[in-house]
Structures are given as C-alpha cells and as structure tokens.
Point group: C2
Chain length 197, copies 2
Amino acid sequence: MGRTATYDRDAVLKAAMELFWARGYHTTSLKDLERALDMRPGSIYAAFGSKEALFRAALDRYATAGRSALEDTMAQASSPIAGLAAHVRMLGGIVRAAAPSRACMLVKTLLETPEDEPELRRSVEDMMRQTETAFAEAFRAARDAGEIASDADPERLAARLQAAIFGLRAYAQRSDAADKVERIAEDIARDVEALRN
Amino acid sequence: MGRTATYDRDAVLKAAMELFWARGYHTTSLKDLERALDMRPGSIYAAFGSKEALFRAALDRYATAGRSALEDTMAQASSPIAGLAAHVRMLGGIVRAAAPSRACMLVKTLLETPEDEPELRRSVEDMMRQTETAFAEAFRAARDAGEIASDADPERLAARLQAAIFGLRAYAQRSDAADKVERIAEDIARDVEALRN
DNA sequence: CTTTTTCTTGAGTGATCGTTCAAAAACGGA
DNA sequence: TCCGTTTTTGAACGATCACTCAAGAAAAAG
C-alpha cells in the first residue's frame, strides 16, 4: 500500500492555523511554514495543493473551532442571554491567554484581503455570517422564551454584537490594551444582559 | 538652483495614502505605487527613502486628517456629547462614501503588522492613543460641564468608544454590510447620548 | 550659450517569493 | 527478498520583490 505519511494532518493544520493567525496570510512565507510544520515544500504541496488552499483550510479550522466553542458556551448556559454574555466575557480573557493573536483571524483576513481575491473574501464573509446567524438564533430564542422584549430584532442585535466583538478583539491587539480589554468586554456583556425584561 | 521637482509632494502623499489604505502595506507593491503616483522608483526613493518610510508618511497623513476631522466635528457641535455622537454618525456614512476602504487604516495596519516590525507597530499605537485621548478629553469636558454623570470615567468611556468604532468599521468592510452599518452606528451614537444626565 | 545643479528615468541588482519535479526513501503485499 | 506504491526530499524554476545608480533631461546661474 506504499509509504505511510509521517505527519498528523490535523496537527499540521493546527500548526498552520496558529502561524497564519499570528502573522497573517501575506507575511507568512513558505519558509515559515516549512519550519512550523516541519515539512518540506513538496510534502506541503502534495498534502494541501497551494499556500492559499492551506490557508483556507486553516481558516476553516479556525472558524469551526470558534463556532463549536460558542455552541459549548451556549449549551452550558442557563439561558440564551446568559450564554451570549458568558461568550463575551470569555473573549475578554484573550488578553491573558497565550493565543497566537488576540485579534480575530477572520477579521484580520477580511482586512488584509483586497478585492482582487474574491474567493477568499467570500469564504471569510460566509464564515462571519455563520457566527452572526448563531447570535441571531440565540437572540430569537431569548425573545421567544420571553427573556428579552417581544419586539426585539434578533438580526439587528446580532449584527451589533458581532461588530462589538470585532472591535473588542481589534482593540486587544494593541500592546497597551491589557487592562482595558476586560473592562470593555464586561461593558459589552452587561449591555447584552441589559436587554432582559 | 537645478531642476525643479515636477510633482506635488502632498498630492503624491495623498495618492500613496489612498492606495495603502485600500490595499494594505504588504499587498501594495512598488509597481502599484509607480502607477498610482506616476513616479519611477528612483524618484520615489529620492523623495521618501523607502517603501516603509513612504507608508509611515502616508499613515501619518491619514491619522492627522482623521484627527482634524474629529476636531472640526467637535467644534461645530453644541456640546461634547453631541460632538461625539455626530462623529459616530458620520462614520456610519462610510458605507455610502467612496473611500479607499471602509475599515480604519490604523486598524488594518495594526492587524497586518507582526511583532517583528516594532517601530511601525509603535507608531500605529501612538496614533490610536492620540485619538483615544481626544475622546477622553471630550468625555471629561462633558463631565466637568455637568452633561454626563460626575462619577463617569472618561478614560474608560474613551476606550469603549474607540473599540466600538474599530468594530463598526471592521464590520463595514464586509461587502454585505451596507444596510446594517448605519444602524449599528446609530446604536453606538445613542449609547453615547444615553450617558447624558 | 555654457555651466552647474538637481531631478527623472528605467534597466539592472541580489534576494526572496510560491511552486515543481525527479530522485530517494519507506512502507505493504507476495 | 523483491516489487509496486506512496511519501519525502531539496535543488531548481521563473516571477516578482524592494531597491540602486549611471546616464539623460531640465531648470537656474553666469
């Protein structure tokens, strides 16, 4: 059956994701990837096809992990609003965590992707929309359960929350933001909770 | 006195700013700049020294223009809070305006600058701090004038507002965000106004 | 007009980019 | 052990990167 691969595909994808998340797409060279993945160019191309395809796979892994983290938080929470608030507070902890970057990889990609890369652009926006839709569903559930006002607009609240999170995490990228980020996250979380009847 | 330069330095800087703002630092090549500035590499290097130096000059121009726009808005407003709210609403109009990008150039730069470019990073963060300080001064003036609560924390409010604006403009970079951005801006503006006594 | 000074031009530099591919290495099956 | 298959390796490729500099062009000074 031929030689068996020596690498763990998911571990490699994770390493690629962490490197791309930290450095962005254009500032990450194949040399950087060879080092981080401990693979030679031929193997990388046999496994993933191209730098851009690898990036997309890494980005997809990032978005999927983020969504499942949100799902877990929501499942553990006592109510939709409590879940969303807990999610925001968790994000406020990024300044203490040792993550590759404090900014969101989707936002970083959106901002560094000019309009001449339409496929990548569309992928990123799709992934953002999926998370925003999850927010909207939570707000809708909260409304239907009577937790928030019956005339609340789930889509509008979801867009606002996503924009607030984008800002929180972009702000967190500043090296002098450590103490302020948790306060901002707390403020956003309380705004969400303030929607309650 | 020798040959006189054929270009207008400020017009060139403006064109460079617009190109860098739209495409980011790493995705803008010298070929792109030659086209946008209508200058050959020798002239560009004689005038600005390096691609990075030109970028920094363009970034500085961007930040200065943004600050003076804020000052103008504040000067025209009937009160500090009214000025800040007007500023946010003006930013909500970026989706209709024909700007090089809807995202903030400072945020784009912060997110695409890895930690191995410390000087550029520090410049960007300094410029962000200047704007945040302007926000804080407005909130302090509002507090001292009795427009908002006497126990309000100007620095905290300023950090929160800046994060909200970062998020608004990052969100606005999405191609499907047109109708939502103005609503989000309106929400942020009303939050600012809601601080009033 | 001639000289002097400054600016502009654009071909060319070495380095690095993403990518390819022939050869070598490592496995399973017979 | 030998074969067939698959993976890994790393040198090499053309393209492009930021950047340089000798030569030409244009202005001011004499």
